[in-house]
Amino acid sequence: MQKDSEVRRGEWEARLADIKYMIHLFRKNPLVMTGTIISLFFIIVALLANFIVDPRLATTEGYTGGSYPFERKYMWSANHPIVWGPDIALHDGPEFFYLGTDGWGRDLLSMIILALPVDLYNAFIIVVVAALLGTTLGALAGYAGGIFDEAVLRITDVFFAFPGLVLALVFASMFGRSIETLQFAIILVWWPPYVRLMRGQVLSEKEKPYVEALKALGAGHLRVLFRHVMLNAIYPILVQATMDLGGVILTFSALMFLGFSPSKSLPELGNLAADGYNAIFSAPWVILFSGLTMLIISLAFNLVGDGLRDVLDPRLRR
């Protein structure tokens, strides 16, 4: 019994040293550090968004208090003057619109801040669900083999042969415009790569001597699979998931942009970009800044993921 705990402690020490080394490698790369800092910054802003900006600013009717003492009309169609910078004609106070206003005359910076939690939350949910679904199926398929493996593989084949965006679009257009439909539609497209990734990992781990040793010691299948094999195969999944966060934000907002948004006035980056598209030549800043925000968030996650891949790749060690 004592032996066992000692072995486990040794295992943990080795793992801890490994993690320390990874952190060292991670910190050595300036780009990866930049990516990490930017992602953390956006996550913190998203968490605090409702404290930084009054969420009622996003409403397009009814709310007239605070800094916007006027009734909102859709400016691009109502031929209102378009504002970027200080504006006195439209507003009472010395309001300064750092990034200009959007089609409803709302401060674009505030709208982008309010959009962050929407985009990040959805991206996170979608990636986590898709990754969990995909890795579990992939791990079971790889470990079990046989007919189950074959069936799972053929199903992913079908999904790989699909035009991904079309599937999501068809799905979203058939089930109506809601955030939940979009989440479901994107998850539907996003889980198969995780199956392939995890299955490949499990197949290569399964052949390693330690699995045989564990089985010889009488460890149960599920225990071997989940406690040992998956733990060792998890790194590439982490990398993939981090990079997918960026990709999912882009896809989610693209669907919103293409008109699957539940409400045109919802502060969401793709929605804001769609709004800016309506006045692309007269008010280019709306689409410019909303798209730029997407680019920066996605780039930050991709930098982290890319750096993680370098760090976690054992062949790049030493």
Binding site: N29, P30, L31, R154, I155, D157, V158, F160, A161, F162, P163, L165, V166, L167, L169, V170, F171, S173, M174, F175, G176, G246, G247, L250, S253, A254, F257, L258, G259, G270, A273, Y277, I280, F281, P284, I287, L288, S290, G291, M294, L295, S298, L299, F301, N302, L303, D306, R315, L316
Partner: protein, 341 residues
């Protein structure tokens, strides 16, 4: 496994994939009320109620969903893919598709050429100067490529090269659309223009292709550059690279003769798959640039819930993807003398 056995296995898989895709899309597009009535393109105002009834009966639209599938299947087997909705002027889906397909092919070819000619050098620089400034710059370009919302980048290009350039009186690029086709021989507009000697048309078409191609390739060259970098780094660690250096070969020779051929093998896969997915139409880019290809059509069809066109589109796309995967695997065998199927 023999090469032909392998090919046969993949072709059987293709049949399975096509069946599954058609069933899934069929149920998604016909199983809900949201699409337009599938018989709408077949009728007109002059028809009496009985005539409409007859049309509906003839195509099996009054049957339960699973029976409708077999009606659809029967029609497809006879080469009838059904009619499109109002977006396609009620023309047969296959005619709309194959009228538009050459334009998509053109765009795919141009974008792929651009991607390869920028992505591969970027990846090589990144690997050779690993963790130095050129690597960081190339890494940022590559990652920015696939972190960019495609429609957004398209708009920026339009804004700068069309709107601001014309505002400043500079020679500007057209922002959207494509010139109408003069003559049809092979179907590919540029090729036809060259064959008929209509150079004005060729130039016009080419100019219209520039912005969409840049927009498309910017997004994908990042993937390619990263793959090339990763496999190049892997190859540069190999013993035979040490051997090549120990021979006193110039670094250029070491990289281009000894490393590149090995490193490009995975890049070939990616380029093949990328090209195939572009053949399926880069929907958003075609939409943004109003490029009259199949991707734009698919987006329009989805907007109207036009099941006939979506089915045709998905099936062609799935076929292309499966065949491209097969082609890539076969190409492996030629590129790497060690691989034998």
């Amino acid at each position: 496994m023999k090469l032909y056995e392998y090919i046969i296995r993949r072709l059987i898989l293709l049949v399975f994939v096509l069946l599954a895709v058609s069933v899934l899309i069929f149920y998604l597009t016909r199983g809900f009320e949201r699409g337009f009535a599938p018989w709408a393109p077949y009728i007109n105002e002059k028809m009496t109620a009985e005539q409409i009834e007859e049309v509906i009966k003839a195509h099996g639209f009054d049957r339960p969903l699973h029976e409708q599938y077999f009606y659809w299947f029967r029609d497809v087997f006879n080469g009838e893919w059904g009619l499109t909705g109002t977006w396609g002027l009620g023309l047969p889906a296959n005619r709309v598709f194959f009228n538009r397909f050459p334009r998509t092919v053109e765009l795919a070819v141009f974008a792929t050429i651009l991607t390869i000619s920028i992505g591969i050098p970027l990846g090589i620089i990144s690997a050779v100067k690993n963790n130095k400034l050129p690597d960081h710059i190339s890494r940022i370009i590559a990652l920015a490529g696939y972190s960019t919302p495609s429609y957004w980048f398209g708009f920026l290009l339009q804004l700068v090269f069309f709107y601001y350039f014309s505002l400043w009186g500079l020679p500007n690029l057209p922002s959207s659309g494509a010139p109408s086709i003069a003559t049809r021989i092979t179907g590919l507009p540029i090729l036809d223009g060259l064959l008929t000697g209509n150079l004005g048309f060729v130039w016009n078409e080419f100019v219209h292709l520039i912005l969409p191609s840049i927009s498309l390739s910017f997004i994908s060259l990042g993937f390619l550059a990263r793959i090339v970098r990763a496999s190049m780094l892997e190859v540069l660690r190999q013993d035979y690279i040490t051997m090549a250096r120990s021979k006193g070969l110039r670094e250029r020779v070491v990289i281009y003769r000894h490393a590149l051929k090995n490193a490009l093998i995975p890049a070939v896969t990616l380029t093949g798959i990328f090209f195939a997915s572009l053949l399926g139409g880069a929907m958003i880019t075609e939409y943004v640039f109003s490029w009259p290809g199949v991707g734009q059509a698919a987006l329009l069809a989805v907007g109207q819930g036009d099941s006939n066109f979506i089915l045709l589109y998905s099936l062609v796309f799935a076929t292309i993807i499966v065949l491209a995967n097969l082609a890539v695997d076969v190409a492996y065998a030629f590129l790497d003398p060690r691989i034998k199927y």
